[in-house]
């Protein structure tokens, strides 16, 4: 095993593999920065170029590219409040709030350092967990996976706002997300649901236009209203000097970073969950780390822990989602499904062979994830302060550029004007939510999980009828969901009694 580990490293460090990895990193860097252009789409676009490559070179190229997309996606989220990737939307809540407080450098430093820690944790999990995780994945059927989705929404809904009223709004936002996920052709009966007679809605609401609208539009309106730069009138010196402080924050809250990395890895392992879910689960956990109501209020207003959690989970989920892909041929996400295609293009079959005959190739993937993230983070730190200074650029210069990226980013989802209409409509919904003090995180998690949850619920009911509710793991997860809902209420009642 140790021999294979080092053999994997040497394979990646061969000049050709290293050159392809650097090429992939370069591509992934820019794809991550541009809103709307997804890592999965780019993976698919690059697939035809690997025909002539050796397996190690091909995986170094593809994984090198994919591993850094989430890292650089955080940069756009922090600086402009526009999600660079669907998987980096959660970073906006506190990362962009920090940028507006003049702490863009610190937020970027924290996002990058936690991404690196997350990537390393995910890679180690990939190296160590394959024999352990097999029984866990195989023991989770549709009922358990459905309940896992419900626990996730309960988790974020109860933690993203305070008090009974806040929780009501959290659940309402989560429910709305789940409900809107039903738009489009139903996968079981083929009924066109809530398509309003348009062909565009047959495939459902695309995630990127919704995310870009709900997060970017309220920020743009606010920037126009303020009439200043993103960082307001703060002196530029402070803004660009906090990158190292962000790195220190990662180690100051190292336990949280590691826990969120493990959450990301776990979500990555679960088939169909993906990075968009992992970041919100991690954000929910980060808010839970607040020791009192006063500290909880800081989340959404620029608490660095709200950057560390999603940053770590985003990158650790890559290692996690590779586990079922490599070991069982079951892709954990869309990107992994495309990567599975690469296996077949290269004449390799995922499964036991990858853990015996091709073990050095498997370890070369682990090393690629680690090296790609180390290289990207080091490269970013070289000009991080200059990036942070962008928050001092006058609003009237930034707004047309941000709007250009927002409209192009959403349009490229389907190359349809409907994408921009969706962005504008959900921009309106996002603005009302912010204005009314509703949390947006549960809505997004509901929308992301909706299709998966529906599928698992349908299979559970069709296969087990009502008996699925009595399965032991389901009962544990129901108890966990109830505990997650009741705990904040119990906590606030206890605080009121003490006061």
């Amino acid at each position: 095993m140790i021999d294979a580990l080092f053999e994997g490293l040497f394979l990646v460090l061969q000049w050709k593999a290293l050159a392809f990895m650097l090429l992939g990193i370069g591509l992934g860097f820019w794809v991550g920065l541009l809103p709307g252009l997804g890592g999965a789409t780019t993976l698919a676009l690059m697939l035809p170029f690997i025909y002539t490559m050796q397996p190690v070179e091909a995986f170094a190229f593809l994984l090198g590219m994919h591993a850094v997309v989430a890292t650089t996606g955080d940069i756009t989220s922090v600086l402009f409040g526009v999600p660079g990737e669907g998987t980096s939307a959660a970073t906006i809540l506190d990362g962009h709030a920090m940028a507006k407080k003049g702490e863009a450098g610190r937020a970027l430093g924290a996002a990058l350092a936690s991404s690196l820690v997350g990537a390393i944790v995910g890679a180690f999990a990939l190296a160590l967990a394959i024999p352990v995780v097999r029984p866990l994945v195989l023991s989770f059927g549709s009922p358990e996976l459905f309940m896992l989705a419900i626990v996730g929404i309960a988790f974020i809904a109860s933690l993203s706002a305070q008090g009974v009223r806040g929780m009501l709004r959290g659940f309402l936002a989560g429910g709305l997300g789940l409900f809107l996920a039903t738009v489009g052709q139903d996968p079981q009966a083929g009924v066109a649901r809530y398509t309003l007679g348009t062909l565009y809605l047959w495939q459902g609401l695309e995630l990127i236009p919704v995310l870009v609208g709900i997060f970017a539009i309220p920020e743009i309106i606010d920037l126009v209203v303020r009439g200043t730069s993103i960082a307001g009138t703060r002196p530029s010196g402070r803004i660009s000097k906090g990158a190292f402080e962000g790195v220190k924050d990662t180690f100051r809250h190292f336990g949280l970073t590691i826990r969120c990395s493990l959450i990301g890895t776990f979500i990555g392992i679960m088939p169909g969950m993906g990075g968009a879910v992992a970041q919100w689960m991690a954000y929910g956990h980060a808010t839970q780390s607040a020791r009192n109501a006063e500290e909880r209020k800081g989340f959404g207003a620029g608490d660095v822990r709200g950057v560390l959690g999603p940053g770590a989970a985003n990158n650790s989920k890559e290692g996690g989602s590779l586990i079922p892909t490599i070991a069982f041929g079951v892709p954990g996400s869309t990107a992994m499904a495309i990567l599975l295609g690469a296996f077949f293009l290269l004449g390799m079959v995922p499964g036991p062979d990858m853990l015996s005959k091709h073990l050095p190739v498997t370890f070369s993937m682990v090393w690629t994830i680690v090296l790609a993230n180390v290289i990207t983070v080091l490269a970013c730190f070289m000009f991080l302060n200059r990036l942070a200074s962008l928050t001092t650029v006058r609003g009237q210069l930034l707004i047309p550029v941000i709007l250009m990226l927002v409209f192009i980013g959403s349009y490229t989802s389907n190359n349809h004007y409907g994408d921009i209409v969706v962005t504008l409509l959900f921009g309106g919904v996002g603005y009302l939510m912010v204005l009314g003090g509703w949390p947006r995180a549960p809505f997004v998690l509901g929308l992301v999980l909706g299709k998966i949850a529906e599928n698992y619920l349908y299979i559970s009911v069709a296969r087990y009828e009502a008996a699925w509710l009595t399965r032991p793991v389901v009962l544990v997860l129901i108890a966990l969901a109830i505990a997650v809902i009741l705990y904040p209420l119990f906590q606030s009642r206890r605080r009121a009694a003490h006061a």
């Binding site: 252009l37 809540l93 507006k100 933690l159 993203s160 706002a161 305070q162 008090g163 009223r165 806040g166 009501l168 709004r169 659940f171 309402l172 429910g175 709305l176 789940l178 409900f179 039903t182 139903d186 079981q188 009966a189 649901r193 539009i217 309220p218 743009i220 309106i221 606010d222 126009v224 209203v225 303020r226 909880r296 959404g300 207003a301 709200g306 009237q396 707004i399 047309p400 709007l403 250009m404 409209f407 192009i408 190359n415 004007y417 921009i420 209409v421 504008l424 921009g427 919904v429 009302l432 912010v434 204005l435 009314g436 003090g437 949390p439 995180a441 949850a453 529906e454 619920l457 349908y458």
Partner: protein, 159 residues
């Protein structure tokens, strides 16, 4: 403002989920199961939020862990600037549909800088050229993304 926005959202959600429930009733159970399982509680929660907003005015609303809009200006001025921002966005969208991205984009950037930003002619022209260069070089030439001609341009036969 807080409560008006909250009430509007709650009513919108009630209408959407109500329509969803009524429509789903006629579908086969396979298609209706999830919309009903989710839609009914969402309708009830939205109704509770609407009633709470209307009749529970003295109850403080919980603070969301989310970003807060700036409130340093008088409400009238905030409304004016918000309307202006929405107007620019809708105008940009209309220009994209009518003229297509390649024309609408530089036009929007230039007009925004000149009219809203009150920037100098030199800066506005140079900035517009750079923005158009990025759009053309990156999205059109390098990534080959399809940007169709606008409806008006096509109708005039200029595409």
């Amino acid at each position: 403002m807080h409560s008006k926005a909250s009430l509007s959202l709650a009513v919108l959600i009630m209408l959407a989920s109500g329509y969803g429930i009524v429509t789903a009733w006629s579908w086969p159970w396979k298609a209706a199961l999830f919309p009903l399982v989710i839609g009914i509680p969402v309708f009830c929660l939205a109704a509770a939020e609407a009633l709470w907003t209307l009749f529970g005015a003295n109850t403080p609303a919980g603070q969301a862990s989310d970003f807060q809009l700036s409130r340093h200006l008088p409400e009238k001025e905030m409304m004016r600037r918000t309307a202006l921002a929405i107007g620019w966005m809708l105008g940009f969208f209309a220009a994209i549909v009518l003229l297509g991205f390649p024309i609408a984009l530089p036009l929007f950037v230039f007009l925004y800088l000149k009219l809203q930003g009150r920037e100098s002619w030199t800066l506005s022209i140079v900035f517009t050229l750079v923005a158009w260069g990025i759009f053309y070089g990156l999205f059109d030439r390098l990534l080959h993304l399809p940007f169709p001609a606008g409806w008006l341009v096509a109708w005039l036969g200029l595409a």
